[in-house]
Amino acid sequence: MINVTITKLAAQALLGRRRFWLLLAFPVLLVALTVTITALTDGDAAWPLLPGLGYPVVLPLVAVLAASSVLGPEVDDGSIVYLLSKPISRHAVALSKWVVAWAATMVAGALPLYVSALVAGGGDRASAAGLAAVVAGTTYSALFLAVSAITRHAVIVSLLFVLIWEGLLGNLLTGVAWLSVAQWGLRIGHEVSTELPDPTNVPWAALASLVVTVGGVWFCGDRLRSFSLRGED
């Protein structure tokens, strides 16, 4: 299903531009901050950085940036027709692009989160945080890829979802946890360490993450099947 050429081109587009440095800034910032604070204080003073900043903000931002970079610009300037005018199923195109976005989210989002967790305390808690980040990062990248296929304003729409729905409203209304990618990830991480919160139940969290991931990539492919060339709007 995965087309190596498309994956390669998407990776080149992601790595070869200025946006790569923006993407790289996040993990560097996160790890550097955790290391500095851990070095200057005793105990696990740096740990709150993860539930307060790394997990709810840095991880989704990396996913937004990665997902919109592999699809957004090409759809924007129409050069995606060079990829789509080929006898390749559009679902394969979507999947190949998602693989790149997913890998970038893992490397620049989930991995540094895990490293920070190790630095800030380690133990089961760190593994749990790492697992939560892998699950949520995977779901985020597929969800945001689908958003990129729908609207030119994918970045802002994705940010609204993360910051307003999951962040602002999620803090006020506990019910939002049932429809929150971040909370699903945390719930699955909770299985490894009970220090993580327990917002929903495991079957729901696992099923919802899976459905959004598969559904997001499939939906993106479906939108690409109906991709239309038209002028600027």
């Binding site: 604070i37 204080t41 900043l53 931002l61 940036l65 802002i156 940010l159 307003i164």
Partner: protein, 292 residues
């Protein structure tokens, strides 16, 4: 082939205009008003109105609810101050700035339609200033509107006028700083990163991630009894500057490491400096593009 032909400009019946013309001031004012309207999607497509007004509604709705509660329950004072309210909705204000700055700053530069403006008698720096003023005003309108709802509702519910007005004025002074800083920062980011998506992410980093880091650092330093470090860290982001000042002015915002004494002056000076630097950077950017 090389036969000589006399050129002629055909008279199509257009009349020459040599009456009085409006000056630079009027052009700048028109540009400013258009920019302000565009920041809210007015005069643009229906789709571009959705986001600004959705954010505005999210930002104002809680104020209306608070007023309702105050009236029905009959409280003698607002449950939170005006500056406290702004502090609560700072994420929405940041999102509005991040989302709408590219509308004012990226489009002209990206599509090179900026040359059409430069073909008018308006110098590039005036255009930059006008754009900045439009965004700053839009931010001010966006953030002051809920406060006015609170204020009007509070007064109608019979709260103390003097107290409310003092509180509101403190908040307004802070918002003036916020609007200038945010317009400078997001405007500069959007005029450099012309792809809308990256401009938005860049602005979010500056307005959400960095303040988040600062707050985290302040929380830790306060716990570790190293408040001074936290106070210095507060200089690093527009929101921590604002919240620090708000706490120093007793406007109803608490921060982990409040600035005191001379630090208040430093906070104020840095805030003004940030706004000025942002504005200067935008002007420099427009001058550079204008000279290309």
């Amino acid at each position: 082939m090389a036969e000589q032909r006399a050129g002629v400009i055909h008279d199509l019946g257009y009349r020459h205009y040599d009456g009085p013309r409006e000056g630079v001031a009027t052009i700048a004012r028109t540009l400013y008003v258009t920019g302000l309207r565009h920041a809210f999607g007015l005069g643009r497509s229906g789709k571009s109105k959705i986001l600004p007004f959705l954010l505005l509604a999210l930002c104002t709705l809680p104020a209306a609810i608070v007023v309702g509660v105050v009236t029905i329950v009959g409280l003698s004072e607002l449950p939170l101050t005006y500056a406290g309210y702004t502090n609560q909705v700072q994420l929405l204000i940041s999102l509005f700035a991040a989302a709408q700055a590219p509308v004012l700053f990226s489009r002209d530069l990206r599509h090179r339609s900026i040359v059409l403006y430069l073909a008018r008698p308006l110098p590039a720096y005036v255009i930059a200033l006008t754009r900045w003023a439009s965004l700053a005003t839009a931010l001010l309108v966006f953030s002051v509107l809920p406060l006015l709802v609170l204020y009007t509702g509070g007064l109608l519910a019979g709260l103390d006028v003097g107290e409310q007005t003092t509180d509101l004025l403190k908040a307004l002074a802070l918002l003036l700083l916020v609007a200038s800083m945010l317009a400078g920062i997001t405007g500069f980011i959007s005029s450099v990163s012309l792809r809308r998506g990256f401009a938005v992410v860049g602005s979010i980093v500056a307005l959400v991630v960095v303040p988040g880091v600062v707050t985290a650092v302040q929380a830790i330093t306060s716990e570790e009894d190293a408040d001074q470090v936290g106070v210095v860290a507060g200089l690093a982001s527009p929101w921590s500057l604002t919240n620090g000042l708000a706490s120093a002015w007793e406007a109803g915002v608490t921060v982990f490491t409040p600035p005191a004494g001379g630090w208040v002056v430093v906070y104020l000076a840095v805030a003004v400096l940030v706004a000025a630097a942002g504005l200067a950077a935008i002007v420099a950017r427009f001058l550079k593009v204008g000279s290309q």
